[in-house]
């Protein structure tokens, strides 16, 4: 007679909100497809106790000017398309991106200080080059973020672009732009469950619908604080499943950016032989970081290397397969 093993299926009362990026022509946009994330009512990939209606999406990060300080491995992998944001977007779509994450890096005061007008032109170009939904990041400097993201919001009105990043001290302008032009926002907080929740509350207090908010809990790369992000995401996901409404936003993590900042991925000179082959190590740095955070509950991963993207796509396929 078989042993009777008790059931350990959890009865979660909450679920992650469904958020859709991009708008089809019928809905006032020009995208060829939309991407919906979230909606799960169980922990990542636990098909035995709940539904995971949407697979996590992979966004590929592209810049509006050639990223000179990127790792040579990345520069080589992308080649000439780095010179042209439209070509880059197209190529990213080809190698398997679900979303294009455009960073308007050239708007940074120290990196060109380009204007809102230029941002409009760039976004227009990317919208024309790809049919995928967009995420658009400002250069990460408060005043310039506000300037270029407001311009982008107007230019891409109705496209349901995810605008990032809103932070606790600077969210009103970006949220107002998203409200006015039918976009989404990304709220970014420094590795803390409470701060993440607080920013969601502040944003929704401005009457932006909750199905238009993504949260970025701040990514720590493998070896550089991964465990903090990992646990904060697990806690947010658990809170969401337990019915805490203000933690139910899908999560987006920038694993490509963070992993490729790590010394292990960036350089090969003067490092211990025990670190092994540079290219393989770098790819693993990005993919392990991404894999770990997918298992902690990431709904969108923003990646950089085309090979890493392929590998992660394969992993997601398998994780989405019910046993």
């Amino acid at each position: 007679m078989a042993a009777s093993v008790p059931s350990v299926q959890e009865k979660w009362t909450g679920k992650v909100r469904e958020v859709t990026l991009g708008a089809l022509p019928a809905d006032g946009g020009t995208r060829g497809r939309t991407v919906t994330v979230g909606g799960e009512n169980t922990l990542p990939f636990l098909h035995f106790e709940g539904e995971v209606p949407h697979r996590p999406a992979i966004a590929i990060e592209i810049w509006d000017h050639p990223p000179e300080d990127w790792s040579p491995i990345l520069l080589e992998a992308w080649g000439d398309v780095l010179q042209d944001v439209g070509a880059w977007a197209k190529k990213a779509e080809e190698v398997g991106a679900d979303l294009i994450a455009l960073t308007l890096d050239s708007a940074h005061p120290e990196k060109g200080n380009t204007s809102g007008e230029q941002a409009r032109a760039t976004v227009r170009k990317v919208l024309e080059a790809t049919t995928l939904p967009l995420i658009v990041y400002g250069p990460g400097q408060v005043d310039k973020d506000n300037e270029v993201l407001v311009a982008v919001a107007e230019e891409a009105a109705g496209e349901r672009v995810a605008l990032g990043n809103c932070e606790e001290g600077n969210y009103r302008t970006i949220v107002a732009a998203a409200l006015a032009h039918g976009h989404l926002v990304i709220g970014k907080t420094p590795i803390d469950v409470n701060l993440a929740k607080q920013l969601n509350i502040l944003i929704s207090d401005m009457r932006l619908d909750l199905d238009r908010i993504l949260m970025d809990p701040t990514t720590g790369a493998l070896g550089y604080g991964l465990e903090y992000t990992y646990s904060v995401m697990e806690r947010l996901k658990l809170a969401a499943l337990m019915g805490d409404s203000m933690t139910q936003q899908p999560m987006i993590v920038t694993t490509g950016f963070e992993a490729w900042r790590a010394k292990e991925a960036r350089v090969n000179e003067g490092v211990p032989a025990e670190w092994g082959d540079w290219t393989k190590r770098s790819l693993l740095w990005e993919t392990i970081t991404t894999m770990a955070l997918l298992e902690a509950g990431a709904n969108i991963v923003v990646m950089r290397h085309p090979e890493a993207v392929k590998k992660i796509r394969q992993v997601i396929d398998k994780l989405m397969t019910k046993a």
């Binding site: 007679m1 098909h47 420094p190 604080g225 670190w275 392990i288 902690a296 590998k311």
Partner: protein, 447 residues
């Protein structure tokens, strides 16, 4: 599930005699609840209370030890499902699979590579853990011989063989090394169990499906074998995740003893290439494996995996810290301003964020305050003149910064005098108390 401090307190003598080394019975009870002290420290606890408390404190997952004392791999004894709930205690061991029919040279070379692999990361030596020796020749002699070779390299062993005779040869060669026997199954469990008992070796149990597995472990336990390791038979991504999660939940949440053992996993099986094997091994690190048997040895994958293991098994109860050091915010030049703060993560993030937001590139020196915020660290003497001076001297600040002005947080203005003594060449400037005021301060400063 453990008892709360108050529930335990009610079972204690409540005399506050202090003989346990804690000032009150309640303090002792809380330590007991946190499993940081043994009940035996209380000389006056009643037998009745002892019985209740012992039952509540038995570990839900058995601690299993493999290998010689010097390089032992100990797994199990976990108490939580998620690391943030407390911590994960015993990191999984990475065992590299070698087959006993490999040519002698190749075998020796791979054995040596595994045995000698070691690399330091944040002050901790990371190593590969052991060898999983698989019988491929079906010969007891070959198996025994190769096992002896691994033993002489001093590495912990997993012995993989279906044939009890072959297995026994391996066990003989590895006496006193507590090798893990892989595996007992529905057919061979009786002989494997008696081998495990005879050689005092832990026994992995293979059974497809949790019911089968539970049934087997109960039977084997009936034969007197206590140290077991589970293989629920899953190999791929989502099925392993489901099975391992259920095993962990059964142990932790249901205290289900028949499946209260560590898990063994084989990421090389069910994956398409080395890269994917490494990634699946990563899933196993995060999600509940105790032993991970790898098919491909390569430093380029082992190093990231050991790093992942180190990350996941870091105690999350410690405050979130950033590494002390000299950080560049924006693209600072040697003339850019220099600020100093503590290495508590939220402090760092708010200071760095405001500096960045100001648009003025700057150097941010993060001193080691053991993860405390400015005021807390100052109060505890962890962010004083001495520590700041040490940071200035040890982080190569003088080479990167041309000027000699350092901006300290307004909250520690009182230490500027002492800091002048410690850093006679430097001018000490008192910055704002709150990060929010940094931009206006920097703008004034730069003007």
């Amino acid at each position: 599930m453990g008892l709360s401090g108050l529930a335990i307190y009610k079972l204690l003598p409540k005399t506050n005699c202090k003989e346990c080394g804690f000032p009150t019975c309640l303090a002792f009870a809380m330590k007991l609840a946190a499993r940081q002290v043994e009940l035996s420290a209380c000389p006056y606890v009643s037998d009745e209370a002892k019985a209740v408390l012992d039952a509540a404190s038995a570990p839900p997952i058995r601690l299993v030890k493999v290998g010689p004392e010097e390089r032992k791999v100990e797994v199990g004894n976990e108490t939580v499902l998620f690391r943030h709930e407390k911590t994960f205690y015993h990191p999984p061991g990475f065992f590299y699979r070698l087959k006993d029919d490999e040519p002698a040279d190749a075998f020796a070379a791979r054995l040596e590579a595994v045995a000698n692999y070691g690399v330091e990361r944040v002050g901790i030596e990371l190593k590969a853990d052991g060898i999983a020796l698989q019988s491929a020749a079906g010969s007891a002699d070959a198996f025994g011989e190769r096992a002896a070779q691994v033993v002489s390299a001093g590495l912990p062993l997993v012995l993989i063989a279906d044939d009890p005779q072959v297995m026994e040869a391996g066990l003989k060669a590895a006496q006193g090394m507590a090798p893990l026997i892989y595996a007992a199954n529905a057919e061979n469990w009786e002989t494997m169990a008696s081998l495990a008992a005879q050689y005092g070796a832990p026994l992995a149990v293979f059974g497809e499906g949790l019911e089968t597995l539970a049934e087997l472990t109960e039977k084997i336990k009936g034969k007197g074998v206590e140290d077991m390791v589970l293989d629920p038979g899953t190999r791929g991504w989502s099925d392993s995740l489901a099975a391992f999660t259920q095993l962990r939940r059964l142990a932790i949440k249901k205290n289900y003893r028949p499946l209260g053992y560590p898990i063994i996993a084989f990421p090389g099986e069910g994956t398409e290439d080395e890269l994917e094997e490494a990634l699946l091994a990563g899933q196993y690190v995060a999600k509940y494996a105790g032993f991970i048997v790898m098919d491909h040895f390569d430093p380029a994958s082992l190093y990231p995996l050991l790093t992942l293991r180190q990350n996941i098994y870091t105690d999350p109860q410690k405050p979130i810290q950033v590494s002390p050091g000299l950080y560049e915010i924006g693209k600072p030049t040697p003339e850019s301003p220099l600020l100093v703060t503590t290495n508590f993560s939220l402090t760092y993030f708010s200071v760095a964020g405001e500096v960045e937001g100001s648009g003025i590139p700057a150097w941010l020196l993060v001193a080691d305050s053991e993860g405390m915020s400015v005021l807390t660290a100052w109060a505890a003497g962890k962010f004083d003149a001495e520590r700041i001076a040490k940071a200035v001297k040890s982080m190569g600040v003088a080479e990167k910064v041309a000027h000699r002005k350092i901006i300290i947080p307004g909250y520690v203005s009182s230490i500027s005098g002492e800091l002048e003594d410690e850093l006679p060449d430097w001018e000490i400037l008192v910055g704002p108390r709150e990060a929010i005021n940094i931009p206006s301060f920097l703008k004034q400063f730069a003007a």
